[in-house]
């Protein structure tokens, strides 16, 4: 009988949703965030706060906010204050304020009706629910660029204004906005922008040494002793550094390398396992990104990937991408979506960092959007999408 043995002792410590007890190299930023929201446990209801967390992919924005949320709600609980921290990813909500507020409300009333109300009505309802329960809320809006791109300034303006309209009532709603590119703030109106920019926490890219330390901590938590050598760890940290100090990418590499070691029945994660892992994981094609796309977003992206697989160009025009998409729809027996819908997909995929877009200039007749695929080989993206579609039961 073959005895199954694994290099892992607890692979959940490498999960994308794992929030470590102590954040390495982010202590100062965590303290700063705690200071901004100190009033929430000392004088709740007296004021409201907005903070902005900025940083590249994998610099710890999400985990910083979540660790802060866990810490502050624990302290509030000890002081018998009904303080809630709700973390919402705007991209997962397709950049819609309606879905964001709906998901927030459902943390309080899980069976709240899903349809029949506007975003503004839901926002009012949220405030009434908070009043009804004597609750305070810190709402963290992750990947905020998706909301700004989809709905512009209005949602943040409304979220800020809702407090100002309630002069005599306790202040119940505070915001943490998390985004990658500060350029997106330029899409906001000046007053909303200035209120957001009051408290900024910038997260610098991790250095190679910092990544090594982070990985070392995770290795101790997730792997059996002696299964990951220093050499392997340094190799992953170096790769993480080339991806702008992306800790999330490095941790995923570590996990995948461990999986390759298990699959090869090795007792140790070797550099070859890491090389295999590198070939299978690209930072933008993370395991949580592609499956979350809607069916037609996946089909559109598949069309784009196929274009780049067959053509040696840097960009594809919107028109050409639509043609490729029609062919993919035909293959999967799906009715094509209209141009406006596809245009929305392009904006969303661009906000998610999967594709790049630019407006055509000299040398191209008329004006069209050009789509680029800078971060992942088309052939791998195509394969990944086909696999996901097949797992979802979509066959050609």
């Amino acid at each position: 009988m073959v005895r199954y043995s694994s290099v892992f002792k607890d692979e959940s410590k490498l999960d994308i949703n794992y929030v470590p007890q102590h954040l390495l190299h982010r202590k100062m930023q965590l303290n700063l965030l705690t200071q901004f929201f100190r009033f929430a446990v000392e004088n709740p209801g007296r004021m409201t706060q907005r903070a902005l967390i900025l940083g590249n992919i994998g610099t710890g924005k999400t985990v910083l906010s979540q660790r802060f949320g866990l810490n502050i709600t624990k302290e509030a609980q000890e002081r018998k204050i009904n303080l809630n921290y709700v973390h919402i990813n705007c991209r997962e909500c397709r950049g819609s304020l309606f879905i964001i507020i709906q998901r927030t409300i459902m943390k309080f009333i899980p069976n709240f009706p899903r349809r029949g109300y506007s975003a503004e009505e839901l926002l009012q309802a949220l405030m009434q629910i908070l009043d009804d329960r004597g609750a305070y809320l810190i709402l963290a809006l992750d990947e905020l660029e998706s909301l700004i791109q989809n709905e512009g300034s209005d949602p943040l303006y409304n979220l800020s204004r809702i407090q100002e309209d309630r002069i005599d009532s306790p202040k119940r709603l505070s915001l943490i906005c998390i985004l990658r590119q500060p350029e997106h703030l330029e899409g906001l109106d000046p007053s909303t922008r200035s209120t957001l920019q009051r408290n900024i926490i910038r997260l610098e890219d991790y250095s190679e040494a910092q990544l090594e330390e982070i990985l070392d901590t995770r290795v101790n938590l997730a792997f059996n002793e002696g299964t990951v050598s220093t050499q392997t760890l340094m190799q992953i940290a170096e790769l993480g550094k080339t991806e702008k100090g992306n800790a999330r990418y490095s941790i995923e590499l570590l996990w995948r390398a461990g999986k390759y070691a298990d699959a090869s029945e090795l007792r140790e994660v070797t550099p070859e396992c890491v090389r295999n892992a590198v070939a299978s994981v690209y930072p933008v094609v993370r395991k949580d990104t592609l499956p979350e796309l809607s069916l037609h977003q996946k089909l559109f992206l598949l069309g784009v990937a196929r274009h780049f697989k067959q053509n040696d160009s840097s960009y594809v025009s919107m028109g050409e991408a639509e043609e490729e998409y029609s062919l993919v729809c035909e293959e999967y027996n799906e009715k094509t979506r209209g141009h406006t819908q596809l245009w929305k997909y392009v904006k969303l995929l661009s906000a998610a960092g999967i594709i790049d877009t630019l407006v055509s200039g000299v040398g191209q007749q008329g004006k069209t959007t050009l789509i680029g695929l800078p971060r992942v080989p088309a052939i791998d993206l195509e394969q990944e999408l086909v696999n996901i579609l097949s797992r979802e039961g979509r066959t050609t």
Partner: protein
């Protein structure tokens, strides 16, 4: 309200059971889960609320009904439902 008034209606018992299990729901969802139409559900809810077995809160246009955890009779009915099942 006499006890037979509560238990003589299948609809009212269904609503009490649903709310005691779920806690909070809006009227359309109660009607859907109980297999009743909106108007009938509304009538039952008015009666049950009149006798303090349930309560409601209005959030904008949205009415959310909840089981009245503080009413001794409601507590007894919940116990009965739990023991019955």
């Amino acid at each position: 309200m006499a006890i037979e008034e509560v238990f003589s209606s299948k609809g009212r018992v269904k609503i009490l059971r649903i709310l005691s299990e779920i806690g909070e729901l809006n009227i359309s969802e109660i009607a859907r889960r109980a297999g009743l139409n909106y108007a009938t559900t509304n009538q039952h809810l008015i009666l049950l609320e009149k006798h303090k077995l349930i309560r409601h809160k209005t959030f904008g246009r949205i009415r959310i009904f909840r089981y009245n955890e503080e009413n001794p009779r409601a507590i007894l009915i919940r116990q009965l439902i739990e023991n019955w099942e």
